[in-house]
Each structure stands twice: as structure tokens, then as C-alpha cells.
């Protein structure tokens, strides 16, 4: 009976409607307070206090704290808003105030003792920042700011969804464009749009006018889309008419993709080319890991083989062997990478699971260390590397296809071809036997699958894709050094496959965009972007363990665990019971 009595407090939400659930309010406040202090002490708040999101209105450092207040209050208010809006607002204000109080505490503590010997960022600048309000000054500022932000967040929470959703999206758009305004402005300055760019975007952050435009446009668009529901309408159309709408849309997207580097300039082209290279790598690992279930943490080895093959065969500088063109070298890069897949695969055929991860990790490290070693230095150039790898297309530097733009197109074309191959492989007999091995190696063998051959093919084809990626990357960079071969690359590729959704081809693209593309755009935030990369990885894995765009199979699998629980217990009897049942 006691267990029943405890239940309501154990389940947040159950008793929330008629209690204030102070425990949860306090819990969220404390977490948010710690996050706020953390943001201050790692330096995000003071370092970006001068980096505008909206010029002369809001700086990134302060915004980080305001977002913390707001998000905490929003979360805490969700329990309360069902009971009453007013109560949610009060709770929001309390949560914001408590969170702010942590910062007040930090300021007071910092005045009493010198924190700076431990926390470099606990500087007078930080304290000045935290105590300098618009109306008020002093340690009370964070509490007041927190309470106001918290209350506002809870007010938004209580609005009907027709207003709330556009509002939240509008605020998110402000954050997004505020972060990327500078990057968007630079390429626009050389186009007829230069006046628009100057009007809306500062060199960092939005202008006040730009912010207003972004906010109004995003709120308006969201509201209209929510009202008219174009997607449902299109889906409701008969197939022929639907094709008439979807077809041109697809062509439009394709045109945008093709025109993208011309409109956005070389920096974005370079970023997307890098993303496409990681898409190739991801599709390779998607075969070994996603389909065949063979965890390969030494994937960088194949990338290295592809890159060095191209370098050796094409380089016009020292160590170059043949002076070939890029395109003659690419097939050999792929071939050698496949050969290395075979060399890797043979000794580890019998290894399974965790041990496989360690063994492949070792293989990757061997290649990495070999590339930088004195032994291979006369051939591969060691840390000095191989220079002067020709660009795939030999055009003068002023030509529109020079530089990263051509790599963008080449990488994109290869990614499309490889995606097609991967997709065909997936639904082939070979693809099915890979999945059978992933599910149960012994039984797959019992079904007539040749384990040796099938596993080796998985390593070889995965390696081939990665070798191709290495070859293109060598063409993109124009050189290869021992230091470009990093364990980090293997881990990044594994993360892309897992975050995107194992075995899913669109998932690889999304994973590469998010895990490779976004960090490139966030270069201005130097080391902090790695911090957020890690946080983002954790959040994604907690919220969507199946990945962002899971394949049909994985989605079914997660569906599984829920349905399995529904299997009546009567069908899961123990041996003991069964033997008793069979007795006379």
C-alpha cells in the first residue's frame, strides 16, 4: 500500500494539475542556475558580450543568459499552464528569479574572494556585465532580468498555439539570422543585393531594421503556412496533379542546389564540398556499420589510402611518381582502398562486437602512424606532406569553376552517384545478406550466406566509398599531410552515421550537414563550437536514439520494444513451467 501512496510525487505531471509541484520548479531552477554560471565561467558570456545578435540592441553573451532563463521557465511552466495561465506566469517568474539568483550569488562571491585564480573568466568585466542593467544596477540585476524573462516566456507558453508557434519560430529565426548575418552579408555585397545586405545585416548580427524584417517575415510565413496547410493540401490532391506541384518544386530545389555556390560564394561552396565528402564517407561506413553491423573505428585508413594514392600519382612536386591527371588517379584510389578493405577484413573476420571496434581502431592507428613515420617518409613525405595535387578541372584562376566551386559540383555529383549505388545495394540480395549478418551471424551462415565473402565485400565496398572521398578531398585541398589523417575523422564519420540514423541514406546527408556543415559555419566561436557539438550529440541521442532520419527498419525496431511489451505473458513461460505442464 505504501508504494501506491508514493506514486503521485514520483510521476511529474500526474499531480501537477492541482499542486504547485515545487520540487520540480526548484529542480529546473537549480539546473538552469548551474547552466547560467557555467556559461559565464567558461567565457561564453563575457567573450561574446560585444558580439551583436541585433546591432545596438542585444549581444550574444547576454542573449545566452536570457535564453537560459526563458527556456527554464518555459519548461517549468508547461506543468502549470494546464491549470492556469497566471500560475504558469508566476512559476516562470520564480524560476527565472532563482536562476538569476545563482548569478547574483556568483557576483557576490566574486566580490568577496578572488575566483580569477581558478576561473580565468571570472573577471571584473563579467561582474560589470552581470550587474549593469538598463534601469537598475547592482547585484539585483540578474534576479530581476530572470524574473522578467521567465514571466515573458511563460506568457508565450499560455498563448493559443496559433500565436505561440509563429512567435517561437520568429524568435528562433532572430537567433539564427543574428548568428549568421555576417556570413550571409559578405557574398551578398558583390551582388546587386548589396544595399539590401547593408540595410539588414551588420558585419556581425542583424541591424535593428533587419531584425524587424526577419521577425515579421518569419512570423507571417509560419502563421500563413499553419493556416493554409499547403502540405496536406498537396497530399490530398490526386496523384497526377500532385506530380504537377511536386515536380517543379523538385526542379526548383535542384536549381537552387546547383546555383548555390555561384550565389553564396566560395566559402559556402567549400563548406558544402566538405559536407559532400563526409556524405561519401558516411555512405561507406553505412554499408559496413549500418547494413552489415560491423563497427569500424579505423575508417580514416581508407580515406588516407585514397588521398595518398591520388597524391602520389598526380603530384607535380616532390614525392610525386607519375604526374597523372586527377581523373586517371581516382579509379586507382578506389581500387587501393578496396584492397585495404580486404587486408583489414581478412584478419578480423572472426572478431565480433566490441572487440571488432578495438581491432579496427588499431588498424586506423597503424595507418595513421605509418603515414607520419620515418619509415614511410621517403615515400609519403611524412609531416612535410605531398604538395601540388592538381585540381580535378584545369581552369585558369579567374574562371568561374576555379577553386572550391568545382569541388562542390564534383563532390555533389559523386555523392549522388554513390547514394544511388548504396540505395540499390541496400535492396539487393547482397544487402539482405549483410542485414542478416548484422542480425545473427550464425543463422545467416545457416541460411547459406558465405560469411567470409559477404563480410569482406562489406569492408571492401565501404572502403571504396571512403577511398573516393579521400581522393576528392586531396583534390579539394591540393595537398596531403600526415597530420590530415586523424582518429577524429573516423569518429566523426561514425557519429554522422549514428546521428543520421543507422542504415539510412538520407540520414547520412542530414548527419553530415549537421555535424560537419554547422561546425564549419560556427568557426568564429572557435573552441566553444566543440562544446556545443558534444552537447548537441548528447541531446540528439537522448531525444532521438534512432537517429534524425531513421530507415524504415530502425523505426520499426523502436516500434518493436513497445509492442513486445504487449505480448501476453502466457506465451513466455519458463522451462520449468513447461515441463510441469507436460507432466501427466
Amino acid at each position: 500500500m505504501t508504494a501506491v501512496a508514493i506514486q503521485p510525487t514520483d510521476m511529474p505531471g500526474a499531480g501537477a494539475a492541482d499542486t504547485w509541484n515545487l520540487r520540480r520548479v526548484l529542480q529546473i531552477s537549480v539546473i538552469a542556475g548551474v547552466v547560467a554560471i557555467y556559461l559565464c565561467l567558461v567565457g561564453i558570456v563575457p567573450v561574446f558580450a560585444e558580439r551583436p545578435l541585433i546591432v545596438d540592441v542585444l549581444e550574444l553573451g547576454q542573449a545566452a543568459l536570457l535564453i537560459t532563463f526563458g527556456a527554464a521557465s518555459y519548461l517549468a511552466g508547461m506543468d502549470q499552464v494546464k491549470a492556469s495561465w497566471l500560475r504558469a506566469v508566476v512559476v516562470g517568474a520564480i524560476v527565472g528569479a532563482i536562476t538569476g539568483a545563482f548569478l547574483t550569488g556568483l557576483v557576490l562571491l566574486g566580490e568577496a574572494i578572488d575566483l580569477r585564480s581558478v576561473f580565468l573568466n571570472a573577471s571584473p568585466t563579467l561582474y560589470a556585465l552581470l550587474t549593469d542593467g538598463i534601469v537598475l544596477t547592482g547585484p539585483i540585476v540578474p534576479i530581476v532580468a530572470g524574473a522578467i524573462t521567465g514571466a515573458l516566456a511563460a506568457v508565450i507558453l499560455g498563448l493559443p498555439s496559433a500565436i505561440r508557434v509563429p512567435l517561437v519560430i520568429g524568435l528562433s529565426s532572430l537567433l539564427f539570422f543574428g548568428l549568421f548575418a555576417g556570413l550571409l552579408r559578405t557574398p551578398m555585397l558583390v551582388t546587386p543585393l548589396r544595399d539590401v545586405a547593408r540595410f539588414m545585416f551588420g558585419s556581425e548580427g542583424l541591424t535593428a531594421a533587419g531584425a524587424a524584417i526577419v521577425f515579421v517575415v518569419s512570423v507571417g510565413t509560419t502563421a500563413i503556412v499553419r493556416r493554409t496547410k499547403p502540405r496536406q493540401r498537396v497530399n490530398a490532391l490526386p496523384p497526377r496533379q500532385r506530380r504537377l506541384v511536386v515536380g517543379p518544386l523538385g526542379l526548383l530545389v535542384l536549381a537552387l542546389v546547383l546555383l548555390f555556390p555561384l550565389a553564396m560564394g566560395p566559402f559556402f561552396a567549400q563548406v558544402i564540398a566538405l559536407v559532400a565528402i563526409f556524405v561519401l564517407l558516411g555512405m561507406g561506413l553505412n554499408i559496413t556499420l549500418g547494413l552489415a553491423g560491423l563497427l569500424d573505428l579505423g575508417f580514416v585508413a581508407f580515406f588516407a589510402v585514397g588521398a595518398y594514392t591520388v597524391a602520389l600519382l598526380t603530384s607535380t612536386a616532390e614525392y610525386g611518381l607519375a604526374n597523372w591527371g586527377f581523373w586517371e588517379a581516382v579509379p586507382f584510389a578506389v581500387l587501393f582502398a578496396m584492397l585495404f578493405g580486404l587486408i583489414l577484413g581478412l584478419p578480423i573476420l572472426r572478431i565480433r562486437g566490441d572487440y571488432l571496434a578495438i581491432a579496427t581502431l588499431g588498424f586506423g592507428e597503424i595507418i595513421r602512424i605509418l603515414a607520419g613515420s620515418d619509415l614511410m617518409k621517403p615515400i609519403l613525405g611524412g609531416p612535410r606532406g605531398i604538395l601540388n595535387i592538381p585540381k580535378p578541372l584545369d581552369v585558369p584562376p579567374t574562371h568561374w569553376l576555379s577553386g572550391p566551386v568545382q569541388i562542390y559540383y564534383i563532390a555533389l555529383a559523386f555523392a549522388a552517384v554513390v547514394a544511388f549505388i548504396a540505395w540499390r545495394l541496400r535492396s539487393s540480395r547482397l544487402g539482405r545478406s549483410w542485414m542478416a549478418i548484422r542480425e545473427d551471424e550464425d543463422v545467416a551462415e545457416g541460411m547459406g550466406v558465405n560469411l567470409v565473402q559477404t563480410k569482406l565485400l562489406a569492408y571492401m565496398l565501404g572502403g571504396a566509398f571512403a577511398g573516393l572521398a579521400g581522393a576528392i578531398s586531396a583534390g579539394l585541398v591540393g595537398s596531403i599531410f600526415a597530420s590530415s589523417i586523424q582518429l577524429q575523422l573516423s569518429i566523426n564519420v561514425a557519429a554522422i552515421v549514428i546521428v543520421g540514423g543507422m542504415g539510412s541514406i538520407p540520414g547520412v546527408v542530414v548527419g553530415a550537414l549537421i555535424l560537419v556543415g554547422l561546425p564549419e559555419l560556427f568557426r568564429e566561436f572557435s573552441d566553444y563550437r566543440l562544446l556545443f557539438y558534444g552537447i548537441a550529440l548528447m541531446v540528439i541521442m537522448i531525444l532521438r536514439p534512432e537517429g534524425l532520419l531513421p530507415s524504415r527498419v530502425t523505426r520499426r525496431e523502436l516500434h518493436t520494444s513497445r509492442e513486445l511489451a504487449d505480448v501476453p505473458d502466457s506465451e513466455l513461460v519458463t522451462d520449468e513451467e513447461r515441463r510441469e505442464a507436460s507432466l501427466p
Partner: protein
Amino acid sequence: MTQPVLSVVDVNTFYGSIHALRGISLEVHQGEVVALIGGNGAGKSTTLNSISGLVRPRTGQIMLDGEDLATYQAHQIMAKGIVQVPEGRRIFARLTVTENLKMGAFVVKDKALVLQRIESAFDRFPRLKQREHQVAGTLSGGEQQMLAIGRALMSDPKVLLLDEPSMGLAPVLVDQIFETIGQLHEQGTTILLVEQNARKALEIADRGYVIETGTIVLAERAADLRDNEMVQKAYLGID
């Protein structure tokens, strides 16, 4: 007497230094259901695994239609016509029912034939037809066993090895599975059945072997084994 489809001659199998099978010999003839009964750890599953090639006997012969299988690997033995339904079913949990069946016909190259056999598997187990596109892991225990048997039949094996098909199933499902085995028998499938449920196994089988600590101790017609005092005492729970 005609030549047996499957014959096991004086097989010794080791796990490291453990002598699991000590000179096992048995025969299965065309169309027969042969039961192999024995206690835990007697060597029943090891016998099946030795036949299907999952473990390698150290000495002795395993012959299919008179051909020695010693040089073949497990996947080749399967293609020769010996298919095992493993203990604990071990269906491919994340593949659909249809995909599981297709895997069962992995060695069958003729696509039309595969589709035809999928249809006949659905005829045999209508429950599977209803769950055609469902992931196999979501099936109930009984359905999974049906799928495992259906999958094994996809390559139209010469000999079907069934390892503990009734394990972990509720009594009503046990009856169902044995009914299925009975039907297979009537249709002429040759079956070597390993079971802890000796009563049921001997009811359905033509002949039976009793295995104890890696040795065959009794080999008789199933009906005779049912009447055997020692078998009654040890395996049928009759004092």
C-alpha cells in the same frame, strides 16, 4: 534396407578439451521423423550443430545421400540440403516476416520459385500472412517459431533439423507446433527432432534415439521407447 538420407557415423566432437560427443552414430531415412531425446547437456544440440557444420567433429563421418560432408562449410552444407531451425528460434528480429522468408531461400536463385514458396509458407501459417510486413521481433513466441520453421522450409531441404521447437512456449502453442511437425511428416519432410519434451516427441516420431553424456544409449522405434521402463522413468516422468 535403403540407403539413409542422413547418416552420422561414430562422431566425436570436442569443445576445447571437453569431449561433448563420444562416438555418436545415427541414421535418418527418407520421410522419417526421428527424435533425439536426452537431458540437459547430454549432447543433443551439439549433435545437430555437428551435422549442420556449425561445430566441427574431430573424428567420424556425417553423410548426406552417401556423400561425406567433412570438407564443407556450414553455408555449403545448407546448400546441400540440411537446414537447421536453431534453438530459441533466432529469427532476424529487425527484418520483416517476408524478408526473413527470403533469407531462408537465400540459396535459391529462381525468383519465381522463391515467391511461390513464400506463398506456400503463408498457406501453411496464415498467421504469418497477416504479419507479412511486420518486423519479426514483434511477433509472439509461437509466431516466431512458425516463422523459423517456415524460413527453414524455404530452401526445400532434404533434412530438416529441429532444435527444441517447443522451448519457451505455452502448452497450447506447444500443441500447435507439434501439429505442424505432424503435417510436415505427412507431407514427406525428413526431420531430425531434438526435444526435451520427450512425451510429445515420441508421440510424433517414427524412431527415437536416447542420448546420455554424449553417447547413444538406446535406439528403437518410438513406440517401443515409450514403453521402455528406463525411458518412462527418466524422460516421461512415469514411476
